[in-house]
Symmetry: C6
Subunit: 77 residues, 6 copies
């Protein structure tokens, strides 16, 4: 079920802001790896975009992915 | 759905207190990235601000974001 | 909604025990940042202090905050 | 109940993308270690692939496994 | 509500096994800090000791506390 | 309630695969520390082995324990 698309060339980003965007992308790609049907994902999207518990859980995933990316970039120092 | 607004210029803050405030900001921006409609977010806000389980989950996100920020600042030592 | 009170001057503490106390304080301040009304927080308090799932979730937040504080103090070695 | 199959020879991968794929594999192997019956796992699969809360929880596991793999690979720098 | 009892003198332990025991102790002390009434805690105990979701959540807290302790002890190498 | 059995002599393992097995063991020993009655644990086991949300939560614990073990082994590099 691994998607063959290459969506992660590097963890290095030019700015912290781009690091956030990469974190969000990685979180989404994990969902897509487990639920590869894009139609199903689209249908499910409204389920969590209006459910605060799931919005918070999603932001936890982003926080974890971002920590990895920030370490990779030596925190853009 | 990435927001074009630049909300994270740097992980470096002058004080630990400012690091906490940045952690809270990052947590909120993640929510906004997934649910970009600010009216919907406003409506949803009361859902979690009075639900202790969601308040605790939110504080977990803040703790994770803060850990990253604290590392970036070498713990303000 | 950021509270203007300065509640975090430093991550450095004299002892590991004080590090635990700071971790608990940070967890509480996150809740207060999201739900700034202290009357509401007081009302909500009984909701989670007798709900084991929420007590466990709170202790997860404390564990994460403490990890950051312990790193900041080089584990009090 | 430990599975005797060797599924993890090394944490080192050639690319970040392969690191993501390994993270997904490790997450799946954990499930298999706890629920070794593959027929049961197949039956259960539809339970979580269409449940956004569980998709998000799964992506949290992948984020944690990936952080370990990324550290092992010195972030592919 | 901070308990005045000193329950954490040091993160350093003689063995990894003692590190696990300290992790479990820290997890319990967090619960006690939030719910200081020992009678209530005793009553609540059966709620989670037979609820697998809560047992798993508790073991997540222990894993996080243990990671901190293991780092403090340089992994007992 | 600490079990007197020594189940963790060392975090060092010969291979990454053995590291996974140790992570699974540690996760299980945490459950046993909180619910020491093995009959109860056996009864509870079917509760989570067929509940995907709990399988995912268990794999999160394994991921966290494994991160600690991988760090202890310098990622078996």
């Amino acid at each position: 079920m691994e998607t063959k698309e290459i969506y992660l060339e590097s963890l290095i980003t030019g700015t912290p802001q781009e690091g956030r965007e990469l974190a969000i992308k990685l979180a989404r790609k994990s969902i897509a790896a487990i639920q590869p049907d894009s139609e199903t994902r689209k249908k499910l999207r409204s389920d969590y975009a209006e459910d605060t518990a799931q919005l918070i859980a999603s932001s936890q995933v982003i926080a974890t992915e971002f920590q990895t990316i920030a370490m990779a970039n030596n925190f853009w120092k």
